[in-house]
């Protein structure tokens, strides 16, 4: 299976929104140290927790997905930071020594 590119991901986000699903887009906006995915990488999430794409190569996707479901509910964007100094990040497994900031926003009509 081919990996989804960032363009496929935004097309999927549009398709999900058109189908009437609640959708959030998460974007890597800053990285420090070694981060597995480059700035601008996207993860899209729907209201049921389906997701496509990657913001960290697997380390923090679970946490981003659950935050995104809150954002879909509230409509208010969030700026999340994950890093080794952060206990949550350690728990979610960003042990590669990097730190990333992820912006999560709902797709609104």
């Amino acid at each position: 299976m081919a990996l989804a590119s960032d363009s496929d991901i935004l097309e999927q986000a549009e398709a999900w929104h058109r189908a009437g699903r609640g959708v959030a887009i998460a974007t890597v906006v800053e990285t420090w140290g070694s981060a597995p995915r480059p700035i601008g990488s996207h993860l899209v999430i729907d209201e049921e927790g389906h997701f496509l794409g990657s913001v960290s190569g697997g380390c923090v996707e679970g946490a981003v997905v659950s935050e995104a479901m809150d954002v879909i509910g509230s409509g208010t964007p969030r700026l999340l930071e994950f890093g080794v100094a952060d206990e949550t990040a350690w728990q979610v497994g960003l042990s590669c020594g990097g730190k990333i900031a992820v912006y999560v926003e709902k797709v609104v009509s």
Binding site: L10, G40, V108
Partner: protein
């Protein structure tokens, strides 16, 4: 993000047009800047740089911090002439992640065996290039040494806004070429766009070395800030 912006991002990408989504992370405010709106945008310098580098990123402007989601179309290199230098150029361009389109009406040259990494069009440039659609994110290279094939390609490239035009040949060959293109109606400013002799001067000898010098010149044209025109 407004659904209309998401849709526009997808439409612009499919059409190979650059655009940038500007997000004020503190306020949540967003605007989508289309290619023809960049010059008038307060962040136009930052947007120009980000597009040239093809990288999304955070920028500071005034008191605010903004995230630029950059959509720069992937580069394409259109090569007229399925010759030896083109084979090496196609492999290098493929490594760099660029799509290569090789145009040559001589079907024996333009074969998939010789060009596994390129799209081939066994047609004359004046037939093929309108189909390809040379745009700002396209580099054009003429490599046949044969004016019958190179010149129509160069004419199409000079009428487009592609970011690089190069043509193989010595200074003497190029002087004759400039005379022919001038006679065909191209002015000095248009003709000055042609990089010739083609490639950075690295003393290239073999076809692969010539391809390397061309690829380096194309990369410089892609990434470096354009010099301001002098005189005018």
């Amino acid at each position: 993000m407004k659904a209309a912006y998401l849709q526009a991002l997808n439409v612009e990408r499919a059409a190979r047009r650059a655009c940038v989504l500007v997000t004020d992370l503190a306020q949540g405010a967003q605007r989508l800047v289309l290619a023809d709106q960049i010059a008038a945008d307060p962040l136009h310098e930052e947007i120009d740089t980000a597009l040239r580098m093809g990288k999304s990123g955070m920028v500071e402007h005034g008191t605010g911090r903004f995230f630029l989601t950059v959509q720069a179309p992937p580069l394409r290199i259109v090569v007229v002439g399925a010759v030896h230098v083109s084979q090496a150029l196609a492999s290098m361009a493929h490594l760099l992640g660029h799509r290569v389109i090789v145009v040559d009406p001589r079907t024996a040259f333009a074969s998939k065996e010789r060009f596994p990494d390129a799209d081939l069009m066994a047609q004359w440039p004046d037939e093929a290039l309108p189909v390809v659609g040379i745009d700002r994110y396209t580099a054009f290279v003429a490599l046949t040494h044969d004016p019958k094939i190179d010149d129509p390609g160069l004419a199409a490239a000079l009428q487009s806004d592609c970011f690089y035009v190069g043509a193989l040949g010595s200074r003497k060959t190029h002087a004759k070429r400039l005379d022919r293109l001038a006679a065909a109606g191209f002015g000095p400013h248009q003709l000055a766009r042609i990089h010739a002799p083609i490639g950075l001067d690295i003393g290239a000898v073999s076809p692969a070395e010539i391809a390397l010098s061309i690829m380096a010149e194309i990369t410089a044209a892609q990434r470096k800030k354009p010099e301001r025109p002098t005189g005018s």
